[in-house]
Amino acid sequence: MATSTLVVVPGDEIAQDALPTPTGKKKTLTLGPGLRHIPPNTITTTIAGALATDNRKNAAWIDANSGRYLPTVGDLVIATVQSSAADNFNCAITPNTPYATLPHLAFEGASRKTRPVLLPNSLVYARVVNAGKESSPELTCVDPSTGNSEGLGPLKGGTIFKVSLGMARRLLLRSKGEVTVLDHIGTKVGFEITVGRNGLVHVDGGDVKTVLAVGKAIQETDEQALGEKGQKKLAERILKSL
């Protein structure tokens, strides 16, 4: 990570030697967000950011922390239920975008007779299963192979905080994302967080003060780009105020 980053603007061609050298079994190159392939073998960029590569997975993508969230298959998101149709809920992943569909049956233990009831504007933690550009995105709250919820489903209580998309990614990376502030706070008070890739964090922790403190900790770490020391200081300050 510490090696010099290649900063690109849209239209830049990625030179062959900047692409990952496959070390794993996978031979085909995977292109992530911000890159496109122009046959026969030109790779160009479509957004501005830093080129990131993963040799083990033989993947390359452009790292950028701005713009609107675009649904991608496999992402965990916090969606807002807008309305209920005949056999699915219409959910908003980001404001003012076409609704994603969440089938009534895509919940743990749901059947024709026991459908979940979700009122408009309630929150649900879901996984994106389909995000083709030809259709509206599709969500699910169960793991299709096991039928278990795996922590997905309606989010009750608490509140949500907006964070940058990069912060959401970091929080989902756990230790690699270097967000230690929550560990520090977690040693003293109990709380629960749910992170959506669409830049939303749901926090629940019993009383109002704890929830706000945790939300503030995440948002400040994000906005001020606090490092390890900064996060520790912030955590201490917040714990003192509680």
Binding site: V7, G11, I47, G49, A50, S66, G67, N96, K229
Partner: protein
């Protein structure tokens, strides 16, 4: 003087930029890809909406004209087919403009056009809208009795009056001309020379201008715009990844 730019400073818009150069200051915001109204929906590509809002008053035919020019140019660089049936909304608010704008002898819509294009591009970059290339643009004015002016300020133009013709060019990163608007009387040789000068200002020299070199060029030249734009993007990436090096 190289233009100044601040990126992603608005909270609501998906992408935003404030750009100031030669006495102009423009705030740009991009929302997208968002839901498109049914009547504007295109089955295979994204709809682009450009709103130019003047500093004083509401939009007039002059703004409609600018919107159309911007729309046609930007449609060429936005990868509209990769985000079909969506809307990319570009709003450009003129915040301040030089006093001499109306009296400098060149159509105000020509002087402001390069600045609007740059602001729109920066806001698009900030919103991470997929683009096929970047663009840079400049104004070349040919006065009646002195040598052509590159990217002149309004007072420059006022001093060089009368202006015989004015040309705005926009180029993509690989040196292809995306837009040309010319006004006044001129012959082909003059136009050709203006286009060549503009290309030098806008595009990176094939010979490879050093990164530092381009920016150091004397204020009159305005530096190299391609180099400037990359520097702005560099700053954006540094700002976004500063947590990696924070203590």
């Amino acid at each position: 003087m190289a233009p100044e730019a601040t990126l992603s400073h608005l909270h609501r818009a998906d992408g935003s930029a404030t750009y100031s150069h030669n006495g102009y200051c423009i705030i740009g915001a991009v929302n997208g890809p968002v839901e498109v109204m049914r009547r504007d929906e295109l089955p295979e590509e994204a709809t682009i909406e450009v709103n130019v809002r003047p500093a004083a008053g509401v939009g007039s035919p002059k703004e409609r004209h600018l919107e159309m020019l911007l729309h046609n140019t930007l449609r060429g660089i936005i990868l509209t087919r990769s985000i079909p049936r969506t809307l990319v909304q570009i709003t450009l608010q003129v915040r301040s403009l030089p006093e001499e704008e109306t009296s400098c002898g060149v159509s105000p819509s020509l002087i402001i056009l390069p600045h609007l294009l740059h602001t729109a591009l920066l806001a698009l970059l900030s919103a991470s809208i997929p683009l096929s290339t970047i663009l840079t643009s400049t104004l070349i004015a040919i006065p009646a009795n002195s040598s052509p002016l590159t990217s002149p300020t309004a007072p420059d133009l006022l001093r060089a009056k009368p202006i015989r013709s004015a040309h705005v060019f926009a180029f993509s990163a690989d040196g292809k001309m995306l837009l040309n608007e010319s006004d006044g009387t001129f012959n082909f040789e003059e136009w050709d020379e203006a286009a060549e000068t503009a290309e030098q200002v806008c595009c990176r020299d094939e010979g490879g201008v050093g990164l530092g070199e381009g920016m150091e060029v004397d204020g009159q030249e305005g530096g190299n715009l391609d180099v400037w734009l990359r520097e702005v993007v560099n700053k954006k990436v540094q700002w976004e990844t500063r947590w990696k090096s924070a203590k």
